[in-house]
Subunit: 136 residues, 4 copies
């Protein structure tokens, strides 16, 4: 499915309780964002223009432990656009179910090569982001 | 300093931008919580009673990139106690400065060995947690 | 392809040089072993009998840096069986090419639930391992 | 102690067996190398000259599981110099004991900024490395 990576949980993902460690969830979310951007955006064009994403806030709710040998899928979509930031909502489900393991709102800004600070999410940047699906 | 781990940033902490990767911050926060609990709580007694901490939410603001060869310190304290959860505030500073790299509120619950679900933060549990410093 | 996981390199896999960090290769190798065992062995039966794998040596040659956005595949096969250990050879290639990024020999032993120390790779254990492909 | 980092094992270091995961050992070895180089070499001068280290082989023997709440120390020293490479021996002990958890030989080469391929370990480079202690 476009923009939805699937990951099978291995020993190296888990910690002493046999559960996926808190920090690993953020790698899963990053995987979800890369996949989303790859599948929906012109990522090459984006990078050639010198734009990059910079995450400024992650608010993650851990809903259910994820365990060895389980398989998850990561769904991502835009929750809202602000003036100089945007918020992605990302949800981790057990594969093929509506069992929600974690839900996170990830706020990012766009940085240019020459300027410092966040660029307004308008004009070219807003247009380049427009193919991203909205959060369901 | 009691409850304040110090970490020097190495290559394996950073990602392609030469910055500490988002997920690593959560390992640093976990390090901070272990150190806090070790230094202020009777962790052996806690575990013998069958109690364990379970993180249900992390809300982290990334304020400033952390780079190779920089040294950070992680400060942690209780922000507030709720009925069945408590919130720790954790701050990552450049060592010996007030330059704030990240600030996170971490909500945890206490789980018992025999019951399922979060235990009330009252009585014995509240007492065992009482040596924890409040967030400054 | 059976027993051959494919991984696309993301920011969180890389370190300050923009290359996959040395330690991450070992996660890729672990991913390769899980996939190999899942696809060729009766892993449920293996665990029900109380057997587990324990890695005692990894000898890894780093041949070529792996970079962001590259895609790799991990090939694994038995190199040889010893009396109380066996050696897997694992190779990491750029996907669909014969460009070798790393080659590792991984020596493992089999541990039982009740005995301590490595079990002989004979009888039932040897038979359970026999579906594993030999290294090419 | 100079060149000998000390690490306390936390939940995020361990995997489902309650043991430190194989890949984490390589982060501990990297920590050991950074500490060694920082404490014994003129690392700033080294980088200003455009030299960098590149690991080409790690051969690690896992001798004993490392578990939650244990504390380790990492000892490193030069085993031998070759023409275009050098080998560091690194040992992970339980802190303050001679209980050996892992032993690794790490072969590295030196890369310059302008040339491709490994530089000879002679002249200026050999001299700059000479303060490193030999493996005991």
């Amino acid at each position: 499915m476009n923009g939805v990576p699937v990951i099978r949980i291995r020993g190296y993902h888990t910690d002493l309780y046999g559960h996926v460690n808190n920090a690993r969830y953020l790698e899963f979310l990053e995987e979800g964002r890369w996949r989303l951007f790859e599948d929906f955006l012109d990522l090459d064009g984006w990078m050639k223009r010198g734009f990059s994403f910079f995450v400024v806030n992650i608010n993650i709710h851990y809903k259910r432990s994820i365990e060895l040998h389980e398989t998850i899928e990561i769904h991502s979509g835009i929750l809202r656009y602000g003036n100089k930031s945007a918020v992605l909502r990302q949800k981790i489900f057990l594969q093929g179910t509506d069992i929600l393991c974690a839900e996170a709102d990830v706020t990012f800004v766009v940085i240019g090569k020459e300027t410092s600070g966040a660029l307004p999410i308008t004009g070219e940047i807003r247009e380049r982001l427009s193919p991203l699906p909205m959060a369901s």
